[in-house]
């Protein structure tokens, strides 16, 4: 009986809270623009997204908002969990009445959120790198067309970058004949390696071994020595999920084999890697995912953004997701203004805005912190004149872009122990 009363009280409380929420969420005449940002808010990726969006919105509000409406930010936390992410996305879209949602991180969580996006018909300027997402847009355009990838290139473009990296090394005088690949035991690396094989064959480069490592793997010393015994002249990591790329670098520097370490290693992008490994992360050649580096901003706007971020938060962006999130806000503002200029009835209608976003194609990129354009499947366009994963290197505590020349601010330096 008392038990029952306790439960009843709880239930009434619940109902009271929800009814309050209902009142708060009533759809009103437009008095503001609401931008939702969603991500894992306990991780650097999510935090950077939230901070970057808030920075952009602050700037925009200072200049009079979007079409004169003040902009408001609402935040959703995915907690890297699909159930939570779908709930939070739905909350942003239907209760907070977000006009656009920005962010998202991690392929699986993104896949789930895309379903919620489709149901709620919400514009989604997104992160994550799996080709599966853009494939959904291509396969079922009407359902998934609200999705655009803004933050970084589709993961399979790494094949192009890696092939370029090998070519660049050869052109710079480091001859590459045999490559030893160490990659994530994960679905995202399959298309990369598949596409990479013929590209390397063209250059007469052989893959001597292709090793897959599980999450949390740490025994790289054995692999480095195996690469050595196979006469490889390049160890190519394709590592993101594993989470231990820093160990690879450290063990490579410790063993000092006559092999260069060059590939895509997510750990190397972390601006703090040098400190976190006590300087044992020198000379690794890597790809700057997301098309920007703090120490080598590709555009003027990017430079300003990085400094403004530092000024507001006391530190540089904690992950490259910041660039995409910041760009997404300005991208949204731009397309809304374009729609209004064209005399659209409702310049905030997502179905309308999709058409305007699609106008940024190969021939017409928009210059933000990076030049942004979309493919037909709404994937972020790859290339020297758009966004690509710049070939970069760690040199004495600093990250430099070393290729292509148009954005490079440093040159390849070989480690002293390599002959």
């Amino acid at each position: 009986m008392r038990y029952a009363k306790a439960v009843l009280t709880l239930l009434i409380l619940l109902a009271a809270v929800t009814s309050l929420c209902v009142q708060g969420g009533q759809k009103a005449e437009r008095g503001k623009v609401v931008i939702g940002v969603i991500g894992p808010m306990s991780s650097p990726e999510g935090m950077a997204e939230e901070k970057a969006v808030k920075l952009a919105v602050e700037e925009i509000n200072a200049q009079g908002g979007i079409l004169g409406y003040p902009v408001e930010v609402v935040v959703g936390d995915t907690k890297l969990d699909s159930n939570t992410a779908s709930t939070e996305f739905r909350r942003l879209a239907t209760i907070e009445n977000a006009d656009v949602v920005i962010g998202g991180f991690s392929s699986g969580v993104m896949l789930t959120m895309m379903e919620t996006m489709a149901e709620t018909k919400t514009l989604f300027l997104a992160d994550a790198s799996s080709p599966a997402h853009a494939k959904k847009v291509a396969e079922n355009y009407d359902r998934y067309k609200y999705w655009f990838r803004v933050t970084q290139n589709n993961g399979s473009t790494f094949a192009l970058d890696l092939a370029d990296m090998v070519k660049f090394l050869k052109d710079s005088g480091y001859d590459v004949k045999k490559v030893y690949i160490i990659r994530d035991e994960h679905v995202w690396t399959d298309p990369v390696v598949e596409a990479l094989i013929p590209l390397l064959e063209e250059q007469g480069v052989e893959i001597v071994k292709d090793v897959r490592v599980p999450r949390g793997y740490s025994e790289y010393e054995q692999l480095i020595q195996e690469a050595d015994s196979l006469d490889a002249d390049l160890i190519m990591p394709i590592l993101a999920i594993v989470g231990t790329g820093d160990i690879l670098t450290k063990q490579w520097v410790t063993l000092k084999p006559n092999i260069l370490l060059a590939g895509h290693d997510l750990a190397a992008i972390d601006a703090e890697l040098y400190n976190k490994t006590n300087g044992m992360a020198n000379y690794e050649v890597f790809l700057a995912d997301g098309g920007a580096l703090i120490t080598a901003p590709p555009t003027e706007k990017c430079k300003e953004f990085v400094e403004a971020y530092k000024k507001k938060y006391g530190h540089y962006p904690e992950s490259h997701q910041a660039y995409g999130a910041y760009d997404a806000v300005y991208l949204y503002k731009t397309v809304v203004e374009m729609a209004a200029k064209d005399g659209e009835d409702d310049p905030f209608n997502p179905d309308v805005l999709v058409n305007y976003l699609e106008k940024f194609d190969a021939s017409n990129p928009i210059m933000l912190t990076r030049p942004i354009a979309f493919y037909k499947n709404h994937d972020l366009m790859w290339g020297d004149n758009y966004v690509r994963n710049w070939i970069s290197q760690w040199q004495d505590g600093k990250q430099y872009i070393i290729y292509p020349e148009s954005v490079a601010n440093g040159e390849l330096k070989l480690p002293p122990w390599i002959e």
Partner: protein, 284 residues
């Protein structure tokens, strides 16, 4: 062939030594208190974090390591305090220690991020043995680990304190009747075991790197080893930690790195199914 064999022995032995430090303490704690300390991996990680952060901010590296060990010891004491009220309740002991482990993991995650951090090895360089490069730090770790394990074994089997520990693990009520302060023995074992795990963590952070997730990894390895060696058997744990090290290296060499975790987990389950008392365990 000799090369491969040598490689397996060298790498397997070093890894085995480090995990042996973790597993022997885990096993000791279970022996005296019947507590499965799921928070054991937390001591491993916390000691390393403290040592790295202190030495990184300019403190003497040896003092930093001592501070790290002290923190892991305190953690052991905390586990003792938290489990004391529920010691008779198996369910709650498991739940409380597991929750503590994840709590610490999340605190580290929120404050220091998910990326690994590592410690500058105390000894640099490497030696070449028959074409195999072995870093000096690995050798040093192996020596330190074996020295610790041997002294632990001597302490348990030869000293008066060790006799108390054995008496308590065999029958804590009888031990109490003969005048042994069982609570003190428990505190000693928990603190000492956690310090051993912390020491392993500090060695690990020098050869590899440490991240909040490493605590779960350390726990799983401790689990695997203790199950293989038999719950509560100290020597069993020490021997089987090397066996686990060899299995790991064998898997990487012959099956490929991708199978390393899977084979490990599968091996544990298989052993549990086929011989649940472990290789050296005794029937309870």
């Amino acid at each position: 062939m000799i090369d491969v064999l040598l490689k397996i022995i060298v790498f397997g032995t070093v890894v085995g030594g480090i995990w042996g430090l973790v597993a022997s303490g885990f096993s000791l704690i279970f022996g005296v208190s019947r507590i499965l300390n799921f928070a054991h991996g937390a001591a491993f990680v916390c000691a390393a974090y403290v040592a790295i952060l202190l030495s990184g901010s300019g403190f003497n590296v040896y003092l930093s390591i001592l501070a790290g060990l002290a923190v892991s010891g305190l953690l052991g004491y905390l586990v003792y305090l938290l489990t004391r009220p529920v010691r008779k309740n198996e369910v709650m002991v498991i739940i409380v220690t597991l929750a503590l482990a994840l709590l610490i993991q999340q605190i580290l995650l929120v404050n220091f991020g998910d990326k690994g951090i590592s410690m500058l090895p105390l000894v640099q360089g490497f030696v070449e043995l028959n074409n195999i490069k072995v870093t000096n730090m690995r050798i040093a770790s192996f020596v330190l680990a074996v020295a610790s394990l041997v002294s632990l074994d001597l302490m348990v089997s030869k000293t008066r304190i060790g006799k108390k520990i054995i008496a308590t693990s065999q029958d804590s009520e009888a031990a109490m009747l003969t005048g042994i302060d069982v609570e003190k023995v428990l505190i000693l074992v928990m603190v000492l075991s956690s310090i051993l795990a912390g020491f392993a963590g500090i060695l690990y952070a020098q050869i590899f790197a440490i991240s909040p997730e490493t605590s779960l990894k350390a726990l799983i390895y401790a689990f695997a080893i203790v199950i293989l060696g038999g719950l509560g058997s100290l020597r069993g744990s020490i021997v089987s930690s090397f066996i686990v090290g060899y299995i790991l290296v064998l898997t990487i060499t012959f099956l490929g790195a991708r199978w390393s975790e899977f084979v490990m987990l599968l091996a544990i389950v298989t052993i549990l199914v086929v011989r649940p008392t472990g290789l050296f365990g005794v029937e309870e």
